[in-house]
Each structure stands twice: as C-alpha cells, then as structure tokens.
Symmetry: C2
Subunit: 164 residues, 2 copies
DNA sequence: TAAGATTGATGTTTCAATCTTT
DNA sequence: AAAGATTGAAACATCAATCTTA
C-alpha cells in the first residue's frame, strides 16, 4: 500500500492546514499507485490484442469528433495533456501509419490541419471493444453506481490543477 | 472533460453488466486525466525546485525504510510499479549520483543488496518539503476529510488490478 | 528450468533551440 | 515579440536476448 508515506514528516504541527495531512498524503499515494496500475493493466490489454497505445485512441477519438474539417494541432493539445513537441512527434507517427493526414492551414500560415483517415476510423473501431472490455474488467466491474458518483464528484474537485 | 467518451459505443444494450457503462467510462476517463494532471503538476514543482523526479523519492524512501541491511532489487520492484530492466537502470543512475550503493548479496549469489547512502538521506530530506507542499497545493487543499475517506475506500476497491 | 539481474538495440519523451508566420 | 510547430541531442523506457546462480 502507501507508495510513499513520508516517515520523514515532522511530528504533526498544530497548523490547522496540516492537521489531517497524513491521511491526505496516504490517499495521494494510493491514488498515484492505483491509477498507474490501472493504466498499466489497460495498456497491457491493448498490447496483448496487438493494438497501439491509449494515446493513439485519444488522438483519433478527438479527430473523429472534429469531423471532416479536422483539427489544429494546438486544439488537440488542449484536449490531450501533451506538450507541443510531443504531439508533433505523435502526429508524425500517426501519419506514417496512415491513420491521419496533415495539410497546411489555409487560414493561418503557421498552422496545420489534421484529419482522421478511413484507415484511422477503422483502427479506432477495432480498438474500442478491447478498450471497453479492459475498462470493464479492471475498473467498472469493481465499482457500483454510488462509487462512480462519489468518485466523479471528488475528481471534479481536483480538476483545476493548473491554478495558483 | 471526458478524455475519451466513446461515441462509438453501441447504443446501450440490455445486458445488465453494461447498463451504467457510460457513467463508468466517463469516470474512468476523468480519473486518467485528473491523475495525469496532478502528476504533471507535482513533478513540475519538483523540477522547478531543481530536484529529481518522484521515482527517485519513492525508491529512496523504500530504501530508507529498509534500514542498514538494504533491500534486494526484486523487493523494491514489488513496492514500486517498475519492470525489472527499468529498475536496473534507475538504480544505476542513483548509484552514479551517489545516493545508493549496490553490493553482491552474500546469501544469494544471483542477487544484490542496495542501500541508501548519507547523501541519499540528505536528498530525500530536501525533496520532502517540496513534495509535501505540492501534494497540499494540488491535492489535499481541494478535499475535505469526507472526500479523503470516500476516495480511499473507492481506490481500495480498485487495488487488486492484476486479478483475473 | 526458473529467478535475479543486466544489456544492446530500438522507440519515445524531454530540453533547448530553431523556424515561420502573426 | 509571441504563437504554432518542428527538430537535434540527450535522457529515459521498452523489447528481446543474455548471463549467472538456484
């Protein structure tokens, strides 16, 4: 359990802000560990089925949503949590595989437009059943409706991480 | 929000096992996204303070717990979620930096024993205040005691991911 | 044969610098 | 100067093969 419970932590001060910090740090470590294990498990299922990693699924899904007009890489960046250089290289791999196409933007000379191809639509359709089953097996199956409601509410409180 | 809500998902079957699958998939995507953002934020704080990444903290913490006898790499592997080859190279970096030492095991000719050094103890002590503040800022500060209790209970249900 | 651990080759991510257009 | 995007070099992760001892 507790991936990194800090035994170093100084003996619990009276500062109200740190009163329950031990429980908070334990929960933090637990969350890190569980989500990493879940991610590993799901990625493992995809790989076992001979399919590409989750980040391909995420990118293709956003591009499919965008429709025939495609998306600017900078817009994709906002959806996915990727650095610009990282996205640039991901798109290069996707294009090499033939699942997306890139063309220069007519509106903005600096930019590009990326669209999903038929082959990309086919790939994401083949990925989804495997992904769906992996989520069910490792995640949904272990939680009931109340768990999902509570979890979602708590995660919602953690959403604006970039603040401050 | 919803990192990859599957619009591909076929129109909700009557199969009881999949009745609430949409909510589950949303919660799954939310969890992935939030934990990745939190991790990025905390790693960013460490880096901004000129400190090494979290995985160093985790390894050093386990080794400090182990005390003077040290730990076998295979034992560290169990604590951290790392592949063997990955750990091997992490330990090489830690040793190069002088924060751990490796020596052959006297009990098992195949194995080694790894211990933290004084320099390693110093490093982890310098990392902890930064890490603690990052957890507080990005995580604890946004949750109350009930949130922590609920979150921990839910994460507990997700813990045995390797099953089945 | 299996467990503990490492390594060469390859792929991916990151940092910092760059290039083009706004 | 700032925004959109890319790239060389370096760091790190992964795969498959290897080595040693149990």
């Amino acid at each position: 359990m507790h991936l990194h419970r800090p035994e170093y932590m100084p003996r619990m001060t009276r500062d109200p802000g740190t009163l329950s910090s031990e429980a908070a740090v334990d929960a933090w470590a637990q969350m890190l560990r569980v989500s990493q294990a879940l991610l590993d498990a799901v990625e493992g299922d995809l790989k076992a089925a001979g399919l590409p990693p989750l980040v391909w699924y995420d990118a293709l899904l956003e591009l499919r949503r965008a429709g025939p007009e495609g998306l600017r890489p900078v817009a994709l960046q906002g959806q996915m949590l990727l650095a610009q250089y990282n996205l640039s290289r991901l798109l290069a791999r996707l294009e090499l595989e033939g699942v997306v196409v890139r063309r220069p933007s007519s509106e903005d000379g600096r930019g590009q437009v990326v669209s999903i191809t038929d082959s990309g639509r086919d790939l994401i359709q083949r990925m989804w059943p495997v992904y769906r089953d992996a989520i069910a097996r490792h995640f949904s199956r272990r939680l009931d409706a109340d768990d999902l409601t509570q979890l979602s509410a708590i995660l919602g409180k953690l959403t604006h991480v970039a603040d401050r």
